[in-house]
Symmetry: C2
Subunit: 464 residues, 2 copies
């Protein structure tokens, strides 16, 4: 974790010529040195961009030709999903050599996401005990502490003195440099965690002092099966750079580094966003067409049937529509605008849930809050729309119908949108995915129904 040579951050903005063309050239030549030199010099942010524009074959040959440590740096730069693709296709030896250069948590994540046989082939390239510990890590879910922890940490017995530790640090400085943690852990002969200290604390103590004479006992920890929400709350609450991970027997298994967790947390929210927009599988445009269809088509097809359901409300009231065709103009307006009012409420609920200021049980409170706001906004929107309708179609009663429908449906949609994430979360469903479709369908149906049934009720007046 030493400091690499400085990089001119300005190259970010005024980048040079599109660098994948240069890469292309270099790959066609046999000159690996030049390729290396170029990649090592590549300005910040260029690499992912350049690589993602290469033909897949070229991407692989590049990785095969680079020294493993540099190849590993390339992996760090490109989207995760792309990395797994590569590892599946690389020769096991090459893949293993590159993985060797990564921290244990990334090794486990990647191997866990490979196809069974590729994973096994790669693991066979590791030394048996390393392969074994990797297999254990792989068994963890990516979203639990055990799946996010690294197993590179420093742990010493309680009777060690500062002197002992410093000597050990000196001997293994080379290796320990790769350890991100700034903490030392104190464990008993069962490797049960008994204390912790920051490395810099050693500076302030006499060389002869025993670790247990100044360590923090009762350190914080998480259980290896704790989920991301527990970790998120932990790091929210405590300004620590990492947290030790213990199993039921209190054995120290590893540590979750704050920045690693933050990254994973960010990716998780990234995927939630994609799924909330109906992209069901991670997609990069460099992927083959069929693969990309698989991610997008399911939701669109489901969407057709949902909107048929909504539109059937119109079908059932065609006669009313036929009597006053102008209503057809306002159906999409009412359902569309009030639908958006619902999505605003969804957004606020999603955020309040993630901030922890509202809980799934509090549907009642949210209903009240959204009812008030929905009514207020609904009335204003209703007035605006009825005015427009009156002015546009020269029909006061028409204005009354669509205005009322808008007001009522806006309130309905806001209340519904506000509660949905809470209820879905309570049902252990993913609010990000499910909120949208349900809300759209229901508010469309309600909107169509309100406009058309109010019209039916006032038809005599409307037709006049």
């Amino acid at each position: 974790m030493g400091m690499p040579t400085p990089v001119d951050l300005d190259t970010l903005d005024n980048g040079p010529e599109p660098s994948w063309e240069v890469l292309d050239r270099l790959l066609d030549q046999a000159d690996d040195k030049a390729l290396q030199a170029y990649l090592e010099e590549l300005p910040l942010g260029e690499l992912a961009f350049a690589v993602s524009h290469l033909k897949e074959a070229d991407q692989l040959s590049m990785l095969e030709r680079l020294p493993p440590d540099l190849a590993a740096q390339v992996l760090d730069e490109v989207p995760y999903i792309q990395v797994t693709e590569w590892l599946d296709d690389l020769k096991p030896q090459s893949a293993a050599a590159i993985l060797e250069e990564l921290p244990s948590d990334e090794q486990a994540d990647l191997i866990g996401d490979l196809e069974e046989k590729d994973a096994e082939a790669i693991l066979d390239e590791f030394e048996p005990e390393q392969a074994e510990s990797l297999r254990e890590l792989v068994r963890y879910d990516d979203e639990e502490a055990g799946g996010l922890m690294i197993t590179e940490f420093l742990a010493y017995p309680a009777w060690y003195t500062v002197q002992n530790v410093v000597e050990d640090l000196r001997e293994n400085a080379e290796e320990y440099n790769r350890y991100p943690s700034q903490y030392l852990f104190v464990v008993d002969d069962q490797r049960r965690l008994s204390g912790v200290m920051r490395m810099r604390d050693l500076l302030l103590k006499p060389m002869g002092a025993r670790l247990d004479s100044f360590m923090q006992d009762d350190p914080h920890y998480v259980n290896h099966h704790d989920g991301m929400d527990v970790l998120d709350d932990f790091f929210d609450r405590f300004p620590l750079l990492g947290v030790p991970v213990l199993n039921q027997q209190q054995h120290l298994l590893g540590i979750v580094i704050r920045s690693d967790f933050m990254e994973a947390w960010g990716e998780k929210q990234d995927e939630d966003y994609m799924r909330s927009q109906g992209v069901m599988e991670e997609e990069l445009r460099s992927m083959p067409l069929l693969r990309r269809m698989r991610g997008r088509l399911p939701w669109l097809t489901a969407n057709i049937f949902l909107s048929i359901v909504a539109a059937s409300v119109i079908a059932m009231n065609q006669d009313i529509l036929a009597e006053l065709i102008a209503l057809a103009v306002f159906l999409p307006i009412v359902s569309g605008v009030s639908g958006n009012a619902g999505f605003q409420a969804v957004a606020v609920s999603m955020r309040e849930l993630s901030l922890g200021v509202v809980r799934p049980e509090e549907v009642g409170r949210v209903v009240l809050k959204e009812m008030g706001l929905g009514l207020a906004n609904g009335l204003i929107l209703g007035l605006v729309l009825s005015g427009l309708a009156w002015f546009w179609q020269g029909n006061l009663w028409l204005g009354l119908v669509v205005g009322t429908a808008m007001a009522v449906n806006t309130m309905f949609s806001a209340v519904l949108g506000g509660c949905m994430p809470l209820m879905l979360k309570k049902m252990k469903l993913d609010p990000a995915v499910a909120s949208g479709p349900i809300l759209t369908t229901l508010t469309d149906m309600a909107g169509f129904f309100l406009v058309l049934s109010l019209a039916a009720f006032l038809m005599t007046r409307l037709a006049s």
Copy 2:
């Protein structure tokens, strides 16, 4: 930054009775001790929830009654927007006393977001030179390095020995414990940055060694005016816990801590999400109604006019609709589903932009990619819908019309949705906010137009 006493993370799930009721009781009693004790024991995640359920007056009196350091912890727990509300309303002395307990970057952020006069009143409570340095920090934009940095860091002259440093650390251990950074900086007599080392490096060196004998020279740094994208790229690329911030004269002004940045970055994306859903001002349901309306109403009103524009396409073709009222059923289906195909493309583009695998100039590439996928999906969706229409309305030609419209509009919407974020970014507009409205309006118009004009073209066949 020492380790607080452990917390039972289980209380997260099976929390005790809603704790704001307890808080309410404690606030009614005069017993500050009990209130403190309760807050100090409050399980993880409870605090923000509890406080956000108190009446505003109670929230303030609670802060006034707590010892400043505990009050500062409360501030750390609740949403930022709420904190600024409080500081505006607290007595300047109390506000200043609480701010004293926070790191300089948070002090500056908060003071910067207060109303002018409140900010000045609070700053007057600080010692002059501290107030001055705060005023300087406040001048920075929240989203540039200077606005994100903390000014608590350790810097020593090059001729200092390990001995000198360790003595200084010993003397000021108390204060330095609040410093999050794990690095030591080496500066010349002008406070220009000349080198850096990790604290733990001191452990490995003889007490007599001069800092410049083993420091890393040419350390990385960012300029105080660099934006969040530069910092994001920096922390992506280098596994460092912080980065020094220099001005044009290379003076060391402060450091940006990785975890602080990650937090700010996460909040930024949070706000983008809210705005993308049409919530224009940060909202918590605990805020007053009018304030919440201000955040939601503008977009809804704009939305009415946009959807009027779209619906005017229907208005202009009412006669066709009147001839075959069944078409009205399919208008929302075609525009809705293809609209969603567009939002999928928006999501993929937003993500590829943030991953750096696509650039604003690459509209051409995205058009091609989305055209292929949009056509493929469009054909399938078109077939499905025409089949459904034929079966449902018993009119093959109707099926042909809506199926074709669906296919064409899906491709159009995908292409449009894919390019929009790139084009908006190029125009320095916020893709998160602007993509949605534009896309919806255009795909609705196109969808309505396609269905109705195709119908007009085939009307003889349709009517038969």
